[in-house]
């Protein structure tokens, strides 16, 4: 097990050396997480209205200018990043947990349980996500909690399908059959043997699902259905920027680029992890 771990770390290193854009993406992720954690070190209050300094162009005091209420834009973007990342990560945790649970149970038990769970997956997946998520969100009070829940609760279907397929092959392996025959409880077999074996699959899926959650959040907030004032995320900042596009185009640049690079980097991270856990894809051919 330990040797396996070392081998994977070695592989990660060679993969990063080989793939420069992936290394950059990883660096960017560390940086963006770091600055959004330490956003409070900024000399400006993200919500403080300053009527004397509204819509200032980027200058020495305000590196990225100010918005229509005179708030420092860079500070707001950093706090916004915090919101976007929190939504991405928590929604991913919810959706991955449900996906892994449904996938392993479905694959392990098979038969009727499998049939029922997979038909449920089919039905939920047949409602376009944009429609599903907005429809559910109108039954909740809009805000941070609602958006995390809505995205988390309705994006687990692809993870469940992947984990199920993986479980189907894992459960026929000898050590699992042995564990079963020695009379270990079902819960223990799933928890101790199946889930560790399908872990690589869902870790890759989860990095991609952070990226998707951030994109979904930004689209919903842009439509005014997500994060509400005074809290802001990159998406809701862009909603603001749209109404000021004519006189303050710089407002659209920073949050947009941050979304693009963050989503790109999480997707790249998924690619690296996939190459590390699946030996087949990393080879030259």
């Amino acid at each position: 097990m330990n040797g396996e771990k070392n081998r994977r770390i070695e592989k990660l290193k060679t993969e990063l050396k080989r793939n420069k854009s992936a290394a950059l993406a990883l660096l960017f992720l560390f940086l963006i997480i770091f600055v959004s954690i330490f956003a409070f070190l900024s000399p400006y209050d993200p919500n403080k209205v300053d009527v004397l300094n509204v819509l200032q162009k980027p200058n020495a005091q305000h590196l990225f200018g100010t918005d229509e209420l005179g708030r420092d834009y860079l500070t707001r973007a950093l706090y916004g990043g915090r919101v976007s990342l929190i939504v991405g990560i928590l929604a991913m945790l919810i959706s991955t947990s449900i996906g892994v649970l449904v996938g392993t149970v479905s694959g392990y038990f098979g038969g009727r349980i499998d049939n029922f769970l997979m038909r449920t997956v089919d039905i939920i997946s047949s409602i376009p996500w944009m429609i599903l998520v907005t429809v559910v969100s109108i039954y909740l009070t809009p805000g941070l909690k609602a958006i995390i829940l809505v995205i988390g609760l309705f994006t687990w279907m692809s993870t469940a399908r992947m984990v199920r397929a993986e479980t189907l092959s894992v459960k026929e392996r000898e050590y699992v059959l042995y564990a079963k025959s020695t009379g270990q409880s079902i819960r223990k077999v799933i928890w101790k043997h199946i889930i560790p074996a399908v872990m690589p699959t869902f870790i890759v899926a989860s990095t991609v699902s952070i990226a998707n959650a951030i994109l979904m959040e930004s689209a919903l907030s842009f439509l005014g259905l997500g994060i509400q004032q005074p809290l802001s995320s990159w998406g809701s900042m862009l909603q603001n920027a749209q109404s000021n596009l004519g006189n303050a185009p710089y407002m659209a640049i920073l949050p947009g680029l941050l979304i693009v690079f963050t989503v790109y980097s999480f997707n790249k991270l998924g690619d690296i992890l996939r190459a590390v856990v699946e030996p087949k894809t990393s080879g030259g051919k």
């Binding site: 038909r119 039905i123 944009m130 109108i138 998406g235 659209a252 051919k285």
Partner: protein, 318 residues
């Protein structure tokens, strides 16, 4: 083959029924009374009762469900609670508007993606592939509304080349050239946002095809690689693309929600967003029902099409 098609249709029907029950359930859950859509505050109690009875709203929920389904099937989709307009009438105006936006965009994206994907797949690891694949993975990360804003700023505000809002200039509603210049920016945004995933798909299936035996045989006979690519690989790559095209059917309705909102395009997307903001439940559920039915029908169509074009499909009606 017919057995398989029949089996697939039989699977799709219960899905449609369940989706319709979910939509109906959500309408029932919503904090409003369906009769509100048809009454005005100054109607007497008696009139309201009469209307209720006429539309079956005084009956138990399961009966109402049957009335509702019957209505949907006969094109009677109910009324907006905000504007009191007939939903089917609104939809019949809005859907064509969305289609003239989405259909050309999807078509252009598809053609470009097949070409770019084939090139990238054939030149795997080379410069052309690095550029195409790199741009696609960036493209996936770009929110369509942000791309729209950038284009609006450059081509609308700075260069003043294209209109940035709506479908027509007031006064020239019938003019095709006017419609065309209004289409340019939103279509560009949609095309660019459809492309990255399609390119990646075509690229990976080209790579898969190029490692097949028939390619090696052709190479052994000394066929030029361009010839192999277009005479043999292209045909096999297009097969799975058909599946994707089928599955994109719902895009004709909900493929442009965000883009339409940015450009104020009077299609289904803006209609939906406005009804969400106004808590106009009958419209919301109508669109939800319509779009999910299209997903199910789209999947069904793509399976059937695939089965027709590629009779090898595994497990025919097993």
């Amino acid at each position: 083959m017919f057995k398989y098609i029949f089996k697939r249709i039989m699977q799709a029907i219960p899905m449609l029924v369940i989706i319709s029950i979910i939509c109906f359930g959500l309408i029932q859950l919503a904090p409003y009374d369906a009769v509100d859509a048809m009454t005005t505050p100054n109607m007497s109690e008696k009139t309201v009762e009469l209307i209720k009875a006429r539309y079956g709203l005084d009956q138990p929920a399961y009966m109402q469900y049957f009335y509702w389904v019957k209505g949907i099937l006969s094109g009677e989709w109910g009324y907006s609670i905000v504007t009191h307009e007939s939903i089917s009438k609104d939809l019949s105006v809005r859907i064509p508007n969305t289609i003239i936006l989405v259909l050309p965009a999807y078509f252009i994206a598809l053609v470009l993606s097949v070409i770019l994907g084939l090139i990238a797949g054939a030149r795997k690891g080379k410069l052309a592939d690095k550029i195409i694949d790199g741009l696609s993975s960036f493209g996936i990360a770009i929110p369509s509304f942000w791309m729209a804003m950038v284009l609006i700023f450059i081509f609308g505000y700075q260069l003043n080349l294209f209109p940035i809002l709506g479908m027509h200039t007031i006064g020239s509603e019938g003019s095709f050239s006017d419609l065309f210049i209004h289409l340019v920016l939103p279509t560009t945004v949609l095309t660019l946002s459809f492309m990255p995933e399609l390119v990646r798909y075509v690229r990976s299936s080209t790579i898969g095809q190029l490692s097949e035996d028939y390619v090696m045989v052709q190479q052994a006979y000394g066929a030029p690689s361009i010839g192999i690519l277009f005479n043999h690989v292209l045909r096999n790559v297009l097969l799975p693309v058909i599946t994707i095209v089928g599955m994109s059917l719902p895009m004709l309705v909900t493929g442009a929600v965000v883009t339409e909102t940015v450009f104020g395009w009077p299609g289904i997307g803006t209609y939906f967003v406005k009804s969400i903001q106004g808590f106009d439940y009958p419209i919301i559920m109508a669109i939800m029902l319509l779009s999910s039915s299209l997903v199910i029908i789209g999947n069904l169509l793509s399976d059937i099409l695939y089965c027709i074009v590629d009779p090898r499909i595994k497990g025919m009606g097993e």
